[in-house]
């Protein structure tokens, strides 16, 4: 499941973007050290291959619903973790742009969820130890299943964390988990089967591809890789903890201070150098018992941690707000329509 911008907050989105950019930089640097140029077009074309494969649907036995390939594990097995991560990141970038899969802010989260866990966690910690030398088909199946399931479970859990930390949903943690994890367990099983099947096919047809890829990833780097992974996990946990404090404390203060600024800044401005109608409006609104600004922005401070309950919003201000909203939309889309009409007329 891809994250969407609409469910994110700037803090969570920005943090994961920072992590993703860091990971891209790290993978690029590591890859450059022992890369031969031959791999560059291969990575590009494999990215296109994964992209195209994701567009092919197959029916899942027993359910009748259709599924499609994820691809992170296959890439990690065939290319090694760093190259696989870059390829996954590139595929997700193209999907975010051309297919609007989630949005540009959520792209940082998606690359993290679908790239880091399969390539840097599941592959070295689960697949490689279980698959061994890669010649026993049963070990490959077991390794693919375990790593596929683990990678997807981590990714799904990550989505839950990111959504909840952003605070745009009312879903409780438990319910959300119960929705996401079982589905992704099933998807992980399927992915494990498909991954094992493809690897088996490739081994039967052209085993030298797998052998060369297995040896091109220096296993000695696995030691430092483990430290890096522990570092990533620690970063994720610390970020999550820090963010939950940040997410709950800051918006209240921010909204309150903005309300203070605009509540004070607007009134005096509109009294100076503005036609009498506006001045009259100001004097009239000053007599209203509820100030339109303070009630919606006052209560986030008051009810931290409780179920949000708005005091009855003053009907007059909300109606005028609604009218203003409709007007804004009409003006915005009207401008667009007018520009198009003007264009069409000016084309001979």
């Amino acid at each position: 499941m891809h994250m969407a911008d609409a469910l994110l907050s700037p803090a969570v989105g920005g943090t994961f973007w920072a992590g993703t950019i860091g990971a891209i930089g790290y993978a690029s640097k590591k890859l450059k050290e022992h890369l031969d140029d031959r791999k560059i077009p291969l990575m590009g074309v494999l990215g296109a291959f994964i992209f195209a494969s994701q567009m092919i649907n197959f029916t899942i036995p027993g359910t009748g619903s259709s599924g499609h390939l994820g691809g992170g594990m296959i890439l990690a097995i065939l290319l090694g973790p760093h190259a696989a991560f870059l390829v996954m990141a590139s595929v997700l970038t193209v999907q975010a742009l051309f297919f609007a899969d989630g949005g540009l802010l959520a792209l940082g989260c998606n690359i993290w969820n679908l790239g880091i866990y399969p390539c840097f966690v599941a592959w070295p910690l689960i697949y490689k130890p279980l698959a061994g030398d890669g010649r026993n088909p049963r070990r490959i199946l077991a390794a693919s299943m375990a790593s596929g399931i683990a990678g997807l479970q981590m990714g799904a859990f990550s989505v839950v964390l990111q959504t909840l930390l952003s605070g745009k949903t009312a879903l409780p943690f438990g319910t959300f988990l119960l929705m996401m994890q079982p589905i992704h367990l099933a998807i992980g099983v399927i992915e494990g089967f498909v991954t094992a099947g493809v690897i088996h096919y490739v081994r039967a047809a052209r085993p030298e591809i797998l052998d060369s890829s297995a040896s091109s990833v220096p296993l000695a780097a696995g030691i430092s890789l483990r430290n890096v992974l522990i570092g990533f996990l620690a970063l994720a946990i610390v970020t999550g903890g820090a963010l939950s404090w940040f997410a709950s404390a800051r918006p209240d203060g921010l909204e309150w201070s903005i309300a203070k600024v605009t509540g004070k800044g607007e009134l005096p401005e509109q009294q100076h150098g503005v036609p009498a109608a506006l001045k009259g409006l100001q004097e009239r609104t000053a007599f209203l018992p509820d100030y339109g600004f303070k009630s919606p922005s006052g209560e986030p401070k008051a009810k931290k941690g409780e179920a949000p309950a708005w005091p009855a919003v003053d009907a007059a201000t909300s109606v005028s707000g609604l009218i203003g909203g409709v007007l804004v939309l009409v003006v915005a889309f009207g401008i667009g329509w007018a520009i198009r009409a003007f264009r069409r007329r000016s084309i001979p």
Partner: protein
């Protein structure tokens, strides 16, 4: 989405990105930065804000109108990718039932308002992302990302992916069509055949990559795809970024619809 539908959407968006309008001529960096700022501005609104988000529609509307991008095409794509956000947001009215009055005599649960907020934010961010690619060619975006500091290896990867995307999609389409023609009902659509299709595609991919590498070596490839374009920031790009950024900040700090509403109320009497 069916294979053909996905592919034709991809092709159309790609063709749109190579046109020549005022928006297309802006520097890719300016458009990428403006779109990211837009996304940040939109998601920074608190969960119950709906009305104050509405003025921000001016940004995608203007880009689409000045860039001559068909509005229906964008709208259809936004709707097509909405399922996940709708699915998650749908639970807000269920779990958040505090009553709020939005007009005299009309009260809804706060969950509906936060759901509406999610939908509006979704429409805004997704349309902005689509308009970015519709008005900026993908190689242009990659060049801009390189100038903004992304590693050269990753940008090369993006460019190669783009270059061979259409080739591989067409090849996959041929294989899928062959499968569909040979499977009466659903017989060929299972996992077994899928694995073999993917395996075959993969082997063809590897062989193709070998041929490509050889051809590029023969033409002097040395690791990075060079570009002859000298792209410098122009005053129009700076004006665009400042105007856009200023507009986003204004909409974030000032509740525009409510202000306009009150002004109207005052004028009306």
């Amino acid at each position: 989405m069916s294979f053909e539908a996905a592919y034709s959407g991809l092709g159309r968006l790609d063709r749109l990105s190579y046109r020549d309008t005022v928006v297309h001529r802006l520097d890719p960096r300016a458009k990428v930065v403006a779109t990211m700022l837009f996304a940040v501005a939109v998601v920074s609104f608190p969960r119950y804000e709906v009305l104050s988000l509405l003025p921000l529609f001016l940004f995608p509307v203007l880009i689409a109108a000045l860039g001559d991008i068909p509005a229906g095409f964008i709208a259809k794509k936004v709707v097509a990718v909405s399922p996940f956000a709708v699915f998650i947001g749908m639970f807000n009215p269920l779990f958040d039932s505090a009553a709020v009055a939005i007009a005299p005599g009309v009260s809804v649960s706060a969950g509906w308002i936060s759901f509406a907020s999610i939908l509006v934010k979704f429409a805004l961010t997704i349309s902005a992302a689509l308009l970015l690619i519709a008005t900026t060619s993908f190689p242009g975006i990659c060049r801009g990302l390189r100038r903004l500091g992304l590693p050269a290896l990753f940008v090369s990867q993006l460019l190669f992916l783009y270059r061979y995307l259409f080739v591989l999609i067409e090849e996959a389409m041929r294989v899928v069509r062959a499968r569909d023609m040979r499977s009466f009902g659903n017989r060929g659509a299972g996992m077994r055949v899928f694995v073999r299709i993917v395996g075959t595609l993969f082997l063809r991919t590897v062989e193709r990559a070998e041929r490509i590498y050889g051809a590029m070596l023969a033409r002097g490839f040395r690791g990075e795809i060079p570009s002859m374009r000298r792209e410098t920031l122009r005053p129009s790009d700076a004006v665009f970024m400042l105007a856009a950024g200023g507009f986003f900040v204004l909409c974030r700090l000032v509740p525009v619809p409510q202000t306009i509403g009150r002004l109207l109320g005052g004028l009306a009497g």
